[in-house]
């Protein structure tokens, strides 16, 4: 009896020593994988930032439902960049240094992202850029591949955007396209690049004009534009003022088809309110009806948030997380460097298509596997145009 009690005591004692180490091993296996998400959650760009976060959240839930990444659930750690460069950089540093994040997705504005790129280069964490389009990001990778080896852009670059728009212009047989945008750096760069791409096709933009993003007086510009009689208007403003531009075009009786770069006008709720009478096209990374993956994502998004996404800033950030999860599954380790070298070589599926990267770490948009999509407003919903042969 005494011996039995002694054995039991010994077992209990041993288990006291063993338990912590066992639980530690278990927690290491199932400890969440922290992924930093940087976007403006307050300030003037908060609506875009919230869409960004919704997209990543949905992707994280999807991945976690399937068992996470190598058994580890994804835990999103957010940083509010507020649309400011300094704030974005400080938040990136906080996520990396205090939260121990090794993988970042963001930021939103090009200026913000350029600050975060430096943090990624200094701390050697992996940065996936889904929205910011400035050429400077991939330019840095091209100029100094060692320093920026862990920076990848999964979204459109300005060049790719311009190429896709030029392809649409060609497909529509337009010979007199005009560009109307908002006076922000991104729109000016896009107009410049589009002009360059079109000139290679022998097409000239007949007018390039910009309105103030804060106080848009658009009608006078539209009057100038009407005098030139364009056959297609490229509306470069991705924000709310694009609504006013379309409305005022109708007031002036302009019947010219419009291609919006996406964003606000690709939101079906906005288009329904607007009910445009002119042909309205919008560019998106993915759209309902374009592929079964897009259909699944759009339905899941609507189920969770109550509306269909617009297929860009509410879609690409989630794809960045899917690419990261795919690369980590292949790498079978948690080192940003290993994941980066896998991203350079492999192809990774997302809602918008299969992502692969060029030497500047730019996702290969405009290829058959990652084409982007042009949608057309059909009165009650957007319908994707059939891809060109």
């Amino acid at each position: 009896m005494k011996r039995g009690k002694a054995t039991l005591a010994l077992i209990l004692l041993a288990s006291l020593f063993l338990l912590p180490s066992l639980s530690a091993a278990g927690s290491k296996r199932t400890a969440p994988l922290k992924v930093g998400v940087l976007c403006p959650l307050s300030g003037p760009f908060a609506p875009g930032g919230k869409s960004f976060l919704r997209s990543v959240t949905l992707a994280a839930e999807e991945i976690n439902e399937k068992g996470g990444v190598l058994g580890r659930p994804i835990l999103l750690v957010t940083g509010d960049s507020e649309g400011k460069v300094g704030r974005a950089r400080n938040e990136a540093l906080r996520l990396v240094d205090s939260e121990g994040v090794k993988f970042l997705i963001g930021a939103y504005l090009s200026e913000e992202t350029l600050g975060v790129v430096e943090v990624a280069a200094e701390r050697k964490v992996l940065l996936l850029v889904p929205i910011s389009a400035t050429e400077r990001i991939t330019g840095l990778v091209r100029e100094n591949p060692d320093r920026y080896s862990t920076v990848f852009r999964t979204g459109f670059s300005i060049s790719r955007w311009a190429e896709m728009i030029a392809r649409f212009i060609s497909a529509q047989g337009s010979r007199k396209p005009a560009f109307l945008g908002t006076a922000i750096r991104w729109n000016r760069e896009l107009a410049e690049k589009l002009e360059e791409v079109l000139s290679r096709q022998g097409i000239k933009l007949i007018i390039e004009d910009f309105y103030s993003p804060r106080r848009p007086v658009i009608k006078p510009i539209l009057l100038r534009l009407a005098l030139k009689k364009p056959d297609l208007i490229i509306l470069g403003d991705p924000g709310k003022n694009s609504i006013q531009a379309v409305r005022e075009m109708e007031e002036l009786g302009l019947k010219t088809p419009i291609l919006s770069v996406g964003g606000t006008l690709a939101d079906e709720r906005v288009a329904k309110d607007l009910s445009p009478k002119v042909p309205l096209y919008a560019l998106a990374a993915a759209y309902r009806g374009a592929s079964p993956e897009a259909d699944r994502y759009f339905d899941a998004f609507r189920k969770k948030y109550g509306y269909f996404p617009s297929g860009y800033s509410d879609t690409l950030p989630g794809d960045a997380l899917r690419i990261l999860a795919g690369a980590l599954q292949k790498a079978r380790e948690w080192s940003p460097k290993s994941v980066a070298s896998l991203l350079e070589k492999g192809t990774f599926p997302g809602v918008s298509g299969a992502y692969s990267f060029d030497e500047s770490h730019q996702a290969e948009w405009g290829t058959p596997s990652l084409s982007g999509v042009v949608v057309r407003w059909e009165g009650s919903r957007f319908v994707p145009l059939k891809p060109e042969k």
Partner: protein, 286 residues
């Protein structure tokens, strides 16, 4: 396309939307002697009500009445609880009305969301020299006419007279038995209602987001600073002139150069004539 007619019409409608908004703000500055930084938020409140009204086409007039009555009552409440007690402390009243504006923006975010909304203008009523006239254009003309009639008749009423006396000399108003707090509250309430109705009528020409009231407020302030607050005619004339000049400058130069030129002009005028362009004599406190 008739460019001249389109430009004149564009400038005219831009101008009258400024005029109605500025008239209400001028009333507050003149009688209550405060700058109400939540004036733009009341404008936006009316515009959001117009958006909600678009889901109930048969009840538009009811919503229009609500866009006047609701902000009027709210204005009365704010005047009694915030404006009257704090109005002599310029810093507190500025912070207080700014806080109200932010509160309204947050409320709009909760009620209507942060995405951009637009109100469909409906079918045009007709065309004049190639310019399409929509119901909201007619609404703006009617509203500005109503504001003119109101400001013409008001000084001929007991309330209007009390406002005038109060605007001239507060001590004198009190000495002749005018309830100055009640008069101020009524003026503030009327100004809030005017801003909201202006927003309701102009809604189809706006893009609605919770912060969309800020820019109209800046413009109303510019007009009130330049035109002075004592008379409606300079406010209306300047609003129309500004609408035309803005449109013309944007047509001739570019839409963002026009904004810079406009703000520069304001700075120059304010530095040269402290009381505004249309004040006959600069009033001095000493």
């Amino acid at each position: 396309m008739n460019i001249l007619a389109q430009s004149l019409a564009g400038g005219f409608f831009l101008g009258i939307s400024y005029a109605v908004l500025s008239a209400g703000l001028a009333l507050t500055v003149n009688v209550v002697e405060i700058i109400n930084l939540s004036h733009g938020a009341f404008y936006l409140m009316g515009a959001y009500l117009a958006y909600s009204a678009s889901s109930f086409p048969g009840l538009s007039l009811l919503f229009l009445a609500a866009s006047a009555a609701g902000p009027a009552l709210l204005g009365l409440f704010i005047a009694r609880t915030l404006v009257n007690p704090l109005r002599k402390d310029h810093f507190s009243i500025a912070v207080g009305t700014l806080g109200l504006a932010i509160l309204f923006e947050q409320a709009a975010d909760l009620l209507w969301g942060d995405r951009a909304l637009s109100v469909h203008p409906g079918a045009p009523l007709g065309e004049i020299l190639g310019v399409k006239i929509y119901p909201w254009h007619a609404g703006e003309i009617l509203l500005s006419g109503a504001v003119f009639i109101l400001f013409f008749l008001l000084p001929r009423t007991k309330l209007g007279l009390a406002m005038r006396v109060l605007a001239e000399d507060e001590e004198m108003a009190e000495s002749v038995g005018i309830n100055t707090n009640a008069v101020r509250a009524t003026a503030f309430s009327l100004s809030c209602a005017l801003a909201s109705v202006a927003g309701f009528v102009s809604a189809p020409g706006l893009v609605l987001t919770p912060t969309a009231g800020r820019m109209p407020l800046i413009f109303a302030l510019v007009i009130v600073i330049l035109a002075g607050t004592r008379r409606l005619l300079p406010v209306a004339a300047l609003s129309l002139g500004l609408g035309m000049v803005t449109f013309g400058l944007a047509l001739a130069t570019s839409a963002y150069v026009e904004y810079i030129l406009l703000l520069t002009a304001v700075l120059v005028v304010v530095s040269v004539r402290r009381g505004g362009l249309f004040t006959l004599k600069i009033e001095r406190d000493y």
